[in-house]
Amino acid sequence: MAEIRLENLQKRFGDFIAVREASFTVPDGEFFVLLGPSGCGKTTTLRMIAGLELPTAGRILLDGEDVTYRRASHRDIGFVFQLFALYPHMNVRRNIGFPLKCQGVPRAETRRRVDEVARLLQIEHLLERSVSGLSGGDSQRVALGRAIVRRAKAFMMDEPLGALDTEFRHLMCVELRKLHERIHATTVYVTHDQMEAMAMADTIAVMNGGVVEQLGPPMEVYERPASVFVADFIGAPAMNFLPFEAALGRGARAIRIGEVNVDVPELQEDVSARPLLCGVRPEHVRFADDVLLRARVLGVEYLGSCQIVTLATAGGTTLRAKVGVNVKAARGDHVGLRFDTAAVSLFDQASGRALRTARNGFSRAMRKEAVHG
C-alpha cells in the first residue's frame, strides 16, 4: 500500500514562488496526473514528492509516514524522466537490472525479476541488445522497466512520452495504462498534454500559477471546469467563450448575448452586474436555421469522423463547432447556431471562476470532499 498525501506544500526559489499551495491525496493504486502549462509548478511538485527538491513549507506523507525531509534514496520511489537516461555502455538486461545490482539483490533473483519485467513490457526479445540501437519507444520501455523492476512504493513520471511523435505517443498511452492495470502501483504523472491526461488518469489535478485549480476525474474536469483556465486548457479544439455583461439572479435560465437570448443551466447563485463569459465546447454547438444567433463560416476542416467549422459571430467572436461529416458548410456561408443548453458553462471574466449552475453545483460539493476527506 502506498498513499501519497500532500499538505499545504509550498516551494520558493528566491523571490519566485514555484508552488504556492498544493494539498491533495493520491490514494493507493491510483494513476494521478498533474496537468498544466510550462511554469505552472507541476514538475516542482513531482520533484518534491520524489525528494529531489525540499519544500519551503508543508508536509509530504507516504503511507502516513512523514517523508518531507527524507532523502530521495530513502523514499522508495521510482522515477521516469522525459529523456530516457539509459546507460549507453550496458545492454538492455543490465540497464533494467541496474537498480537491483545497486541494492545488492542476488544475481539469480535479479535475473528472474528482469525477465518478469521484460515480459510485462513485451521487450524480452531485446534483453541482450545494446540500448544504443533502440527506437524511441523501446528506449522508453527500457527506462520504464528500470523504474518498475525495483517494485517501489510509487512511481513518479515526468513527461515520459514528451520526446515521442504524436502517433506513437497515443499507442504508448494505451500501453502505460494497461501496465498500470496489471501492477496497480500508485503513479504520479506530469504532463502538459491534455490528451495524455484524459487517456490515462484516474484523477487529474490541473495546475496553474503554482496552485491546483481543479482536481477530479477526467470527464468531470472536462465537463464541469472550475475556471476559464481549466476550460480553455483541456479540450481540442478549445472551448468557445462568448463575452457578455449582466447581473444575474439565482434561478436564471437564460442570458442575453448582444441581441440574442441564450438558454443556460439554472443559475444557483446571485451575480452583480459585471463582465461574464459563456463557455460552450465545439461539440455542443449545432447548426439551426430558426435561431437568432448568426455566424459566418470562416473555414471547414474535415477530420474523417467529424468536421471542425470555424465561425465568426456578428459580435466578432470566433467560435469552433464540431459537427458530423455529413453536415454541409462552406466558407462564406451564414448559419444559425444553437448550443446544447445543459452543457453550457458560465464564468466570471475578472476572476475566471465558474459560476454555480445546475450543471456544476453537484460536482463542486464532491470535489471538496475529495480534497479534504
Partner: protein, 344 residues
Amino acid sequence: MAELRLSAIGKRFGAVQAVQDLDLQVSSGDFIVLLGPSGAGKTTTLRLVAGLESPDQGQVHIGGRDVTTLAPALRNVTFVFQQYSLYPHLSVFENLAFPLRSPLRRLPKGEIRHKVEEVARLLRIEDKLQQPVTRLSGGQMQRVAIGRALVRNPAVTLMDEPLSSLDAKLRDDLRLELKRIQQELGATMLYVTHDQTEAMTMATRIGVLEKGRLVQIGTPRQIYEDPVSSYVASRLGSPRINLVPRSALGKTAAPPSAVTVGLRAEHVGMVGSDGATAREGLPARVLRLESLSDQRLALLVLQGSEQEIAVAVPSDAIVLPGDEVRLQLRRPLWFDVGGQRVRA
C-alpha cells in the same frame, strides 16, 4: 494545366531507394499534402522538386518547363522549412522584401513596398513590419517565413513540416490561417507532413507515400473512406483504425480473399446482449473505457479470441467494464493477405 508535374521520378541514396517511380501532377491552386511516416520519401520528393537533389530517373516540369537539370534559384519555387530560417539582423519588412531584392528579378522600390504590405496584411502582421524578427513569437516568426515564401508569387510553394515546431494551440490557429492565405492567393502548394490532422484539414488532395512510392492520391474524404490498402487506412483516423484478422470474426460474411478487416471506431455499432437484437452481431466483452474529451471509446475483446478492438460509444449509452455486448460492423473495409483492399 499542371503547374508541377513529376514523371517516373526515382532517387536512390546508396542502398536505400528513397523515391521510386513517382508520378504526380499538381494543378494551379492545388494544395497537395504528402503524408507518410519518417523514411517514406516525402522530404526527398520535396527536395527533388526544389532542385536540392537531382533525380536518378524521371523529369520535373514546373509551369510547363522541364527543370530537371536546372539550379534551384532558376526554378521559380520557394521553400519553407520546419525551422523558420529568418535573417535575425533584419526587420520583418526587410525579411519579407529580401526575395524581391534578388538580382535575378529587380523590382522598383515602390512595388516591393506594395507587395510586402499586401502579404503582411494577409498574414496579419502589418503592425510588426518595423520590428526586428527576433522580437516576434514563434508563431509570428513562422508566419513571416511563410510570407517570405509567398511574396514572390512563385509557381509552386514547397513546405516541409512548417508547423511542427509550434505548440498545439498555435498549430490549430495557423493551420486555418495557412489554408486561408493559400486560397486567397490561389497559391500552388506541395506540403509535407507526418501529421494526419494537417493533411486532412488543409489538403485539396492527399498523397500517401509508402517506402518511396505514391500508393494513393485523393481528397481527404476519399483517402479516409476509401483507402486502397491497410497501410493507407492506418495513416488517417484517430483512434487508429482497428485491423482485425478475419478469423476473429466468427461467421461474419466476407469476400473470399479477405484476411483482415479494417474497422473504424465510429463504424462499429454496439448493443447490449440482453436486448431483442442480441442474437445478431459479434459477441464481445468490454475491457475498459477511455474518454478523450468528447470522444468516448470502449476497448473490447472479441469473444473466442484475444483480439482487442476500440469502438466509439454514443454519448447517451451506458457501458461498464465487464459488460457483454454485440457488435455490428457498419462499414467494414476488407484487405487481402498483402494488405491490399478487397472490394465486397
